[in-house]
């Protein structure tokens, strides 16, 4: 079929109706043909509507299984992309960088301001290039804020420290030696705001010691709670808190 017009294959391609060899050949054509590129994009958006129209209810067990599985599945790095893309793609939510960082920040909390400064220098050296570390920077800012206050408590076989900067309206939670949650479960952090519980993010599963920038503003929260939730977290707490910490005064 080498003599046929490749432009005519947009429909079959978008419908996944070409066999492997033909699809590969068409993709080579596609790379250099804007008209086909545009048409395939439109057709793909069209077939997505067929998929949306097929929406069904999913069994609750499937959600649990998928959310549990992803806790053990390593993500593909952004991969063989141009340098600026690699830089943009550096993950701040997972991977070794964050854990190295968490460890150094935990040390900073333990050893005080000098360590924070060293941490910042370390950050300069190791992480400046990884510029998506906004979260880490916000975290460091909270810890280094002149108005930062902290409160610690024993919990889950270890200890937790809540650091709050009223000026920045953010909080950081530092866990030390907490027993990991049961398999398939995570620790979830909450801001308690009167009757309202606002999720403040998840702790990484399987780590007893870590430092977490709590998500969202502190606002009027009076307490911080930690609960054990199914992988992926919950919209509202589904279990009694393993720990409750008053906002440090």
């Amino acid at each position: 079929m080498t003599t046929t017009d490749p432009h005519a294959l947009t429909g079959a391609y978008a419908l996944h109706a070409l066999d492997g060899r033909e699809a590969a050949a068409f993709e080579r054509h596609l790379a250099g043909c804007d008209a086909c590129g545009q048409e395939v994009a439109e057709f793909t958006a069209t077939t997505a509507r067929l998929a949306l129209a097929s929406t069904v209810r999913t069994p609750p067990a499937m959600r649990d299984q998928v959310l549990r599985r992803v806790t053990t599945v390593r993500q593909t790095p952004p991969g063989a992309a141009p340098p600026q893309r690699v830089r943009r793609g550096v993950r701040r939510g997972g991977g070794p960088v964050r854990w190295a960082l968490a460890a150094s920040v935990a040390a900073a909390v333990a050893f005080g301001a000098t360590a924070v400064w060293q941490y910042e220098r370390a950050e300069d050296a190791r992480l400046r290039a990884a510029q998506t570390q906004r979260q880490a920077e916000a975290l460091a800012e909270v810890l280094a804020a002149p108005d930062a206050r902290s409160r610690s408590a024993r919990m889950a076989g270890g200890a937790g420290t809540l650091v709050v900067s009223p000026g920045r309206d953010r909080a950081v939670f530092v866990a030390t030696g907490m027993s990991p949650p049961p398999r398939g479960k995570v620790y979830q952090l909450w801001f308690a705001d009167g009757e309202e519980m606002r999720s403040a993010g998840l702790m990484a599963p399987g780590r007893g010691s870590q430092t977490v920038l709590m998500r969202g503003p502190v606002g009027g929260a009076s307490d911080v709670g930690i609960t054990v939730e199914p992988a992926g977290g919950s919209k509202q707490p589904t279990s009694e808190p393993v720990a409750l910490l008053d906002m440090p005064a």
């Binding site: 996944h16 439109e42 997505a48 998928v66 959310l67």
Partner: protein, 194 residues
Amino acid sequence: MKEPVFIDSRPVVQPDLQRLLHAVALGDQEAFAALYDAVAGSVLGVVRAVLRDRAQSEEVAQEVLVEVWRTAPRYRSELGTAVNWILTLAHRRAVDRVRSVEAAAARDTRAALLEHRTAYDEVSEEVESRLEREQVRRCLRTLTELQRQSVTLAYYRGLTYREVAEALALPLGTVKTRLRDGLVRLRDCLGVTA
């Protein structure tokens, strides 16, 4: 019941899926849970529309959702919107499965191929997906019979265009054209832009 009125023909899709997918790419499991809640029904729906077997569909849908988690760092907006990227992947994987299964098993008869039935028995009651379904049905009716059959066999049954040609006893070139023209008509009827 009256035909629903579409003020805006675009589907009701949470506008923050893009943002969620970016958060997922950064390893955010909570964002993944939210993304799951937004797309899992459509992922399972399209996989089941192709595979029909319930257990197999769930298995493939799970694979797709885990693949979304795994490959989220590779997602770029040039690949289309988040939801299109995910649903295209879901269809691709469903088609891969149906081809690998069918390669081993005997082919359905032509009569069975032509009998298309979507898994409408357990369809979502969500208002937006009901409206979406009505609109897609209405637009599929605007296709010629041959366009509709060709698109349906390829999309919902996972046939290659050669197999579609065999099933409908049509020349290959005709099927290619029918698939393309059928999608053009669907695109215009649905008001899709990309």
